[in-house]
Amino acid sequence: MPSSLPFFPVEASNFAGNVDSLFAFILLTCLFFSVLVTLLVIFAAIKFRRKSEGEVGSAVEGNLALEVGWTLVPLVLAIAMFAWGAVIYVHFRTAPQNTLDIYVIGKQWMWKLQQPNGRKEINELHVPVNRDIKLIMGSEDVIHNFYVPAFRVKMDVVPGRYNTLWFRPTRVGKYHFFCSQYCGTNHALMGGWVTVEDPADYAAWLSDEGGDLNPVSAGEKLFTQLACVTCHIANGSGRAPSLNGVYGAKVLLADGSTVTADEAYIRESIVQPKAKIVAGYQPVMPTFQGLVTEEQILNLTAYIKSLQAQPVPLKGAGIAPVPAGKK
């Protein structure tokens, strides 16, 4: 990719072109003003250079019209830059539906990534071209940041919460990704390669190795091992709500408010179960903080997400008598 003096990185995602256009707009505006000011300064420095030792300048105090003008013109341009930037950012922060979800765990100093079918990678990420990809990212220790320059995207990976990052790769190829939030000794080595492939190549790669348990099955196993199943009974008869159809739905809480059951809510309910109590239930669940790894939480989450496909319960979160096949 690089010639000897590269100036622009390749554009390989849906965001790259937009970010570069905005960059060019700001750059041209800035160039215009810097060249203007520089020329004015040079012109003045030559034209008004001191001609005799005792010379003084003219007695000018200021000019209101000029002051107003050079306040308002930059203000208008600044608002234009802000607005364009805001449009890109909102798009960037709002993932579309039907993304290919990949789980990412950052830890000092490596990335663990897992495809929807369970295939795991370390410091490598394979994605199909022209498909919306969403990374759901957590950290085992400190704050990291997942950054793909060719895609012009990055997002912090913060312990204790999930951040998501979405993009649509538009060009087949191999691109660097970096950790761009300083995280200790080998921060600089905590990177790898994103491989963007044709869907067929991606599918072939994906099925190449089936060794790992996929996250849903792994989560289902944990769900039993950790005894979640003894209370979260699928038919709603347990001491805790059934989780069928919960993912993505609104859940009514004991304080009367509702919350959307997304990854962050599920994670919180595992590590801090008392934070949000579902209406009609007692706060009896113990915390799993420190007992489960981030990876296990992701597997549990994947399993709970898979229950979304189960028949939607009739009312509340702990309902829906489904002749559940599982457990």
């Binding site: 810097s34 002051e67 930059p74 400190v142 912090d156």
Partner: protein, 562 residues
């Protein structure tokens, strides 16, 4: 070219603040704002060279993609300690505590600051904080980044975090005391006739800075206290494993540390607002707009902190609000640049060393300020955040802006401080060397950043090498540009040509007294009857004012002449 058309031979004052008393005690127990300014000068210079040493190590190491010189852990300590030394112990105190301390009383016609003993206390507080930080640097070092992000700093770092945090915590109080002293002094000790709108803009800039120091610094103190308690006693404020919130730390940290950028740049802007009118011999264009811009920067500067956090996962609406406010804070800086430029028109411009620094400042601050737009803009920040683009941007502001302003100010007031002139040619050459070296060091880093090289990397992919080598080459030139002034300014203090009261000449009150000034600054309290930078109504300066009577007037006997 002689600067002084007026009198025959300038005389070095027999008695002045430097020789009034002798001995170690007379310096370490002094309450004279001028001597305290020099104590600060010595200590911030020490830290400038400590921080500079770390910078040299960083640049040498990065000549090669694999890193040439240091281990990963050593490198991480170098950039961290470079930042801590430069920001907390050089940039923040540099202009306010050295030049501000020395000049504010002189500029407003006062004998000293309002609280001379608190002023001395502030230096001692700084020294105690500095001692803790130096202790950390030699006993394990510090590898958290100057930003101390949690939970890395509070849980995972294997370096001497606690003493460094204590050091920075303590030093903050010296800043608060200095700010308090400036505010009270400017409010209550102005000479008769020195109205608010006759104040030199250097004083206005320091007024705005003092407000930021007083309101912002306590927050960093609290933040570091919490981080220290988490590190030492395991109290879970920021560590998510104990129920804390690591992002909360960033909010608290930047609530101070973004305004702290204005603590560094506002005083430099104040210096430039003195240099340009003086060397263009013309009133500053739009005086009240420039003064108001300082205050606007100080106020809006408090409302932009979370633009450091667009990619932490903070709410989209918060990001939108902070980005908008960030664009607003750019406007007063732009207004200042336009006013400085307009001042040149119709002036009588000379190219003495301080003016070269002012020109350098204009160019570099322009680049530094404008590149801030790419970071404040949400769409582009996604890409350039936490890359070398940021490193280049803030070095253009901090070094290109604040340090150029500081050096310009030192060269401008050095004849006042020591009473003697430095070698003009040597000084001009090193100003140019600095400008060239600076751009060669930091401009390539913008390209590196856009290409995607993250900050704080001890090794990097080989495609980034060209620009790193350029940057290192520039840094070696830059180092020469910093060493030269250090040498010839010290030389000038002892052997330079006697400067006289007002060598440039300039209009401020500080130039009405002798160089170096007497301990009490003025023998007779000055009375101010002129506007700032008004060369036209100052017959005492002996300039050829059109319409005034031809022939030179004798220098005003008014104040300060022994």
């Amino acid at each position: 070219m002689s600067m002084k058309p007026i009198v025959a031979e300038p005389i070095f004052p027999e008695k002045n603040y430097l020789n009034e008393t002798y001995g170690i005690r007379s310096w370490f127990l002094t309450t004279d704002h001028k001597r305290i300014g020099l104590l600060y000068l010595a200590s911030v210079t020490l830290f400038f060279f400590i921080g500079g040493f770390f910078a040299v190590m960083i640049r040498l190491h990065l000549m090669n993609p694999a890193g040439t010189l240091l281990t990963a852990d050593q490198y991480n300590r170098m950039f961290t300690m470079h930042g801590v030394a430069m920001i907390f112990f050089f940039l923040i105190p540099s202009i306010p505590a050295v030049l501000g301390n020395f000049l504010i009383p002189l500029m407003i016609g006062a004998k000293d600051l309002a609280f001379p003993r608190i002023n001395l206390l502030s230096w001692y507080v700084y020294v105690v904080g500095a001692a803790f930080t130096l202790y950390s640097m030699v006993n394990g070092g510090l590898d958290t980044g100057w930003t101390f992000y949690t939970p890395f700093s509070t849980v995972y770092s294997n370096s001497a975090v606690a003493p460094a945090v204590v050091g920075v915590f303590i030093t903050g109080f010296s800043s608060i005391l200095t700010g308090l002293n400036f505010l009270v002094t400017i409010h209550t000790m102005r000479a008769p006739g020195m109205t608010w709108f006759r104040l030199p803009l250097f004083v206005w800039a320091h007024y705005a800075t003092a407000v930021v120091m007083i309101l912002g610094t306590p927050v960093i103190a609290i933040t570091l206290a919490l981080a220290g308690m988490e590190r030492l006693f395991g109290l879970g404020f920021f560590n998510p494993a104990m129920g804390g919130d690591p992002i909360l730390f960033q909010h608290l940290f930047w609530f101070y540390s973004h305004p702290a950028v204005y603590i560094m740049i506002l005083p430099a802007m104040g210096v430039i607002s003195e240099l340009i009118p003086t060397f263009a011999r013309k009133k500053l264009f739009g005086y009240s707009f420039v003064a108001a811009a300082s205050l606007a920067i100080a106020v809006i500067g408090f409302l932009v902190w979370a633009h450091h956090m667009f990619l932490t996962g903070q709410s989209t609406y918060a990001a939108l609000a902070f980005s908008f406010l960030t664009f607003l804070v750019a406007i007063p800086s732009a207004v200042k640049v336009f006013n400085w430029t307009a001042t040149l028109f119709g002036g009588s411009i000379s190219f003495d060393t301080p003016m070269l620094y002012a020109f350098g400042f204009l160019g570099l601050f322009l680049v530094g300020g404008l590149t801030g737009l790419f970071l404040g803009c949400l769409g582009t920040d996604i890409h350039v955040h936490d890359t070398y683009f940021v490193v280049a941007h803030f070095h253009y502001i901090m070094v290109g802006g604040a340090v150029m302003g500081y050096l310009g100010g030192l060269h401008f007031w050095w004849p006042k401080i020591v009473g003697r002139m430095y070698s003009e040619w040597l000084a001009r050459i090193s100003a140019i060397v600095l400008f060239v070296g600076f751009n060669l060091t930091f401009f390539p880093q913008f390209v590196l950043g856009y290409l995607g090289m993250p900050r704080r990397y001890h090794s990097y992919p080989p495609e980034f090498q060209v620009y790193n080598v350029m940057s290192t080459a520039g840094a070696s030139i830059l180092a020469v540009g910093y060493l030269l002034p250090m040498i010839y300014l010290v030389w000038a203090a002892f052997y330079g040509k006697v400067a006289g009261n007002n060598p440039w000449p300039a209009t401020g009150l500080e130039w009405q007294t002798s160089s170096p000034p007497p301990t009490e600054n003025f023998h007779v309290t000055p009375v101010v009857t002129w506007e700032a930078y008004d060369f036209h109504n100052r017959p005492d300066l002996g300039l050829d004012v059109p319409g005034a009577k031809p022939g030179r007037l004798s220098p005003a006997p008014a104040h300060g002449d022994d």
